[in-house]
Symmetry: C2
Subunit: 136 residues, 2 copies
DNA sequence: TATTATCCTATCGATTTGATAGAGTATGCA
DNA sequence: TGCATACTCTATCAAATCGATAGGATAATA
């Protein structure tokens, strides 16, 4: 299941992408527009800023804004920042690899074999979608 | 993330599928072979039996066994039984559909659009894999 | 200097997860 | 019949995660 963090983050990014200019938008405005708890959204936007997708400005006239062009923001990056691993098990993760302690041999593991395919199919989707694609 | 329930369930099914005959196999034997907590596995096998994938026999010489041929057991079914929805959000689920309360219009929702693609790509994988494919 | 709006940490209740305990029930066999 | 075996079922539990909230710190604007 997709976490609400990811869901809200995607919605916030999409909203910012629909705006013509790149002027800062207040958290309150985004939260209201997307029906999201403002305080919860605060922490999400902070994550997105720290990972380099958003810029921010404090004080009057401040808010959050996209740093890059929506067509240059890949879903692979967004998903990894918000949701974490794209793979369903750590032993098939490219960016968050971990060995299973109960599994003696990955090559002969049926779960590994299946989840490798699922990961690749998801990766294909995320690699072919930018933020610009989502708001078309 | 894949739950351990699903992971263990898949491993148990795979183990049973590798056996030539369809004689009952004790929980203890499966648990030992796959390094799984026996009590936890008990509840998983019970689920698989109730959903029609496994048969069971009580008493001496009892245990669990596959009812169908491994090549007739689709991963779509196995995943839905063990893990639940294949979709990452309920609003794009075929078998567990639920409307998002915060989203006024699915057609214009960017999350919906992306998750629809992810669901379809995962479905394709699960539909093309049977239990027989996993143990090859 | 006052106001505005992000930054950051800490906490909290609810839910889920993985695991365990133990009594009940059906089967096979002597 | 009686006993051993192995699944059946319910109840419980600790730990982790999730979604959300509170409140003060910090920086920018006017």
């Amino acid at each position: 299941m997709l976490s609400k963090k990811t869901k809200y983050g995607l919605k916030a990014l999409s909203f910012l992408a629909t705006l013509e200019d790149r002027q800062p938008v207040q958290i309150a405005e985004i939260a209201k527009h997307e029906n999201i708890s403002q305080k919860f959204l605060e922490s999400i936007l902070l994550t997105l800023r720290k990972s380099g997708l958003l810029g921010s400005k404090k004080g009057k006239g401040g808010g959050y804004y996209l740093i890059k062009d929506p067509k240059d923001i890949l879903m692979t990056d967004v998903m990894r920042i918000l949701e974490g691993p794209i793979a369903l098990v750590p032993c098939v993760s490219l960016n968050f690899y971990e060995k299973c302690e109960d599994c003696p041999d990955e090559a002969s593991c049926s779960v590994h074999k299946l989840m490798l395919q699922v990961r690749d199919s998801a990766l294909t989707v995320y690699r072919h979608n930018t933020l610009a694609d989502l708001i078309k």
